[in-house]
């Protein structure tokens, strides 16, 4: 267990943001879920007692009739903002004095760094390059992520949960977002920082990074597993697999959605539902393909003369 290496990686100045990202994300997750729990308990209480529901001010914080509903921005909000600015400045000052920004040797096109890592916020995308070709990992996926984020307000038809933390009333949307943000985005960043070593090979934390290690991975393509050899056959087979995935998984997902979330099903229009389903299935395709690769060494599923998936 190479603690020294682990410590070096974690405290390299350019990795400090990731080392800080993890506890920060966990802290704010806790803060959010604590408030959500409070709100959910209040909601349960109000749902059990309709008379109380009519008179309660509906927040977990105290309020009595006669209290001001609003407070002056000057001074109350402004002093919070001022305090935040001071604290952030203090953190930045201490950080800038104690940690030096990295500076490698001058740019040398003839000497590749190993591993050549992207800045930490793009490590998630770089990790995807292992499983997908550059045009998917670098262009299509980021575009779909951005489009997916933009579309969220228009496919979320749940009227509950606007303006307050809740888990009970928004289980589906929160689970989906947390999966995409925490499991896919954040954990890929962590994998890219701590796990991927020379040659982008997998090194468990504590395993010494060995520049001479060679792992022979014999990858095969899915059509090969089924004994298909002709190019046309591979193309048709791949199309069946990919489109079939969307069809079958889509069918299963629709069946589950209709049964488990009937209210949302009735609220959503056709286009809203189809958008949501397409994005959800594409998002799920990523860990699915990762699994296929890591367990069965399958590289491509659909092979055509023009692109491979």
């Amino acid at each position: 267990m190479n603690w020294h290496q682990l410590w070096t990686i974690a405290t390299t100045p350019d990795n400090i943001p990731i080392t800080a990202l993890l506890p920060l994300v966990l802290f704010y997750l806790w803060l959010a879920f604590r408030q959500a729990k409070g709100n959910d308990e209040l909601i349960a209480q109000l749902e059990a007692d309709p008379a109380l529901a009519k008179t309660h001010h509906r927040k977990t914080w105290p309020f009595r009739p006669g209290w001001q509903k609003e407070v002056h921005v000057w001074p109350f909000l402004l002093r919070m903002e001022f305090l935040a600015a001071i604290i952030v400045t203090a953190i930045l000052m201490v950080w800038s004095i104690t940690m030096n920004a990295p500076m490698e040797e001058p740019a040398n096109p003839n000497l590749t760094m190993n591993p050549a890592k992207a800045p930490w916020y793009f490590l998630g995308l770089q990790e995807m390059l292992v499983y997908f070709d550059p045009w998917i990992a670098g262009v299509v996926m980021p575009t779909l992520i951005i489009i997916g984020l933009m579309v969220i307000p228009y496919i979320d038809t749940n009227p509950l949960g606007g303006g307050y933390y809740t888990v009970k009333q928004r289980k589906f949307s929160i689970a989906t977002f947390c999966f995409g943000f925490l499991v896919l985005w954040v954990s890929m960043i962590i994998i890219g920082t701590f796990i991927r070593g020379p040659g982008w090979q997998w090194f468990w934390p504590g395993q010494t990074w060995d520049h001479n290690r060679l792992i022979y991975e014999v990858n095969r393509d899915l059509p090969d597993l089924f004994g298909i050899t002709s190019n046309l056959g591979k193309g048709i087979f791949g199309a069946i697999v990919v489109l079939g995935y969307f069809a079958v998984a889509g069918f299963i997902m629709t069946a589950l959605f209709r049964r488990k979330m009937p209210k949302d099903w009735s609220r959503m229009s056709l286009i809203q539902y189809q958008l949501m389903m397409f994005l959800m299935l594409t998002m799920m395709a990523l860990p699915l393909k990762m699994l296929l690769r890591l367990t069965l060494n399958i590289k491509y599923v659909w092979i055509t003369p023009w692109f491979n998936i």
Binding site: I16, A20, Y28, M80, F122, V139, P159
Partner: protein
């Protein structure tokens, strides 16, 4: 002849003879020569000084005892600042830097756990980055010959250069973290729902612009780290479908390494001097301007869409599909 002499040197036209009607008041007899005339004037002034000055000094001291009543002060600060509701409201509404805020907000929105302050922190970091960035620009030349050495110069020879560069880098990382936490918070509080959908999208664009700012800045030191990061990034660009020379259907559409989208980004087919200059311009001018415009829209829409979304009163599932009027009856 003696008289002529006197006339020439006389003070205010006194001819040397006694003239009762002219000359200094008082009982000073018209002097026989100019010097004595000046003496009389001086004495007069001193008398006037001693008579009037104490009152003037007292008046001056009185007028600065309360600085807030001076002309200088009232010309700058156009309203009073004692603690009345009116002045508290005016303090926000009549201040160009603060008037984005409303005069009053939801009493619980001030609490830190609700908003986490991340939007404001992101904006503050943007200002810190602009400030440190401008200072760095005084020492940096975006050319292959000078870029790396300029950064070394900043680190070792420029007074406080090290702290300046460090602060710029760390504020950039912190801003990416803050913007992602802000997005997370807005999602968890459902503050993208009606009527805030558009503002969420403006925010997504700002997220992309923040990441692009970070990425273009990464190349500027022209070291191995930046060079290879940009190489990896732009190599992905050559795989763009239809527009990249190694992407699906790209070659079929006539894309070559010398005219595809990667060429457009780099200003060449390799990561070289042109790429550095373009990154510099994107980083320092183009993207900050675009981001500022989007920020203006983003902040404006926060106000127009109803301010900070919460904490809002909880809605019960049974009230979910009813018209909004039902909510008001429930103690809002």
């Amino acid at each position: 002849m003696a008289d002529d002499d006197v006339k020439v040197t006389g003070g205010n036209g006194a001819s040397g003879k006694e003239a009762p009607g002219d000359g200094a008041p008082g009982d000073v007899p018209a002097p026989k020569n100019g010097k004595k005339r000046i003496g009389a004037l001086v004495k007069e002034e001193v008398e006037a000084f001693r008579a009037e000055m104490p009152a003037k000094v007292k008046e001056q001291i009185e007028s600065v005892k309360d600085p807030t009543k001076t002309q200088v002060y009232t010309s700058i600060f156009r309203h009073k600042h004692d603690e009345t509701p009116r002045n508290r409201a005016l303090g926000v509404l009549s201040n160009v830097f603060l008037h984005l805020h409303p005069a009053k907000i939801n009493r619980d929105a001030v609490r830190y756990p609700f908003t986490w302050g991340m939007g404001g922190i992101t904006f503050y970091l943007f200002i810190v980055l602009t400030f440190t960035g401008v200072l760095l620009m005084f020492y940096y030349h975006p050319s292959k010959v000078q870029a790396f050495r300029d950064v070394l110069y900043l680190e070792h020879d420029v007074p406080f250069g090290k702290i300046l560069r460090n602060m710029h880098r760390w504020a950039a990382h912190l801003m990416v973290i803050a913007v992602e936490l802000h997005m997370f918070r807005v999602f968890l509080t459902g503050s993208y729902k009606k009527p805030r959908e558009f503002n969420w999208n403006v925010g997504v664009i700002l997220l992309v612009l923040t990441l692009l700012l970070s990425f273009t800045g990464y190349l500027l030191p022209d070291d191995q780290l930046g060079f290879w990061a940009v190489t990896v990034g732009t190599n992905m660009a050559r795989a763009t479908p239809l527009l990249g020379h190694e992407g699906p259907f790209g070659p079929q559409l006539g894309m070559t390494p010398y005219n595809d989208v990667r060429f457009g980004l780099l200003g060449g087919s390799i990561v070289d001097a042109n790429a550095l200059l373009r990154a510099y311009i994107w980083h320092c001018i183009a993207i900050p301007i675009i981001a500022s415009v989007f920020m203006v829209v983003h902040f404006w829409r926060v106000r127009k869409d109803g301010g900070i979304s919460g904490p809002a009163p909880v809605m019960l599932a049974s009230e979910a599909d009813k018209p909004r009027r039902a909510q008001k009856a429930a103690g809002e």
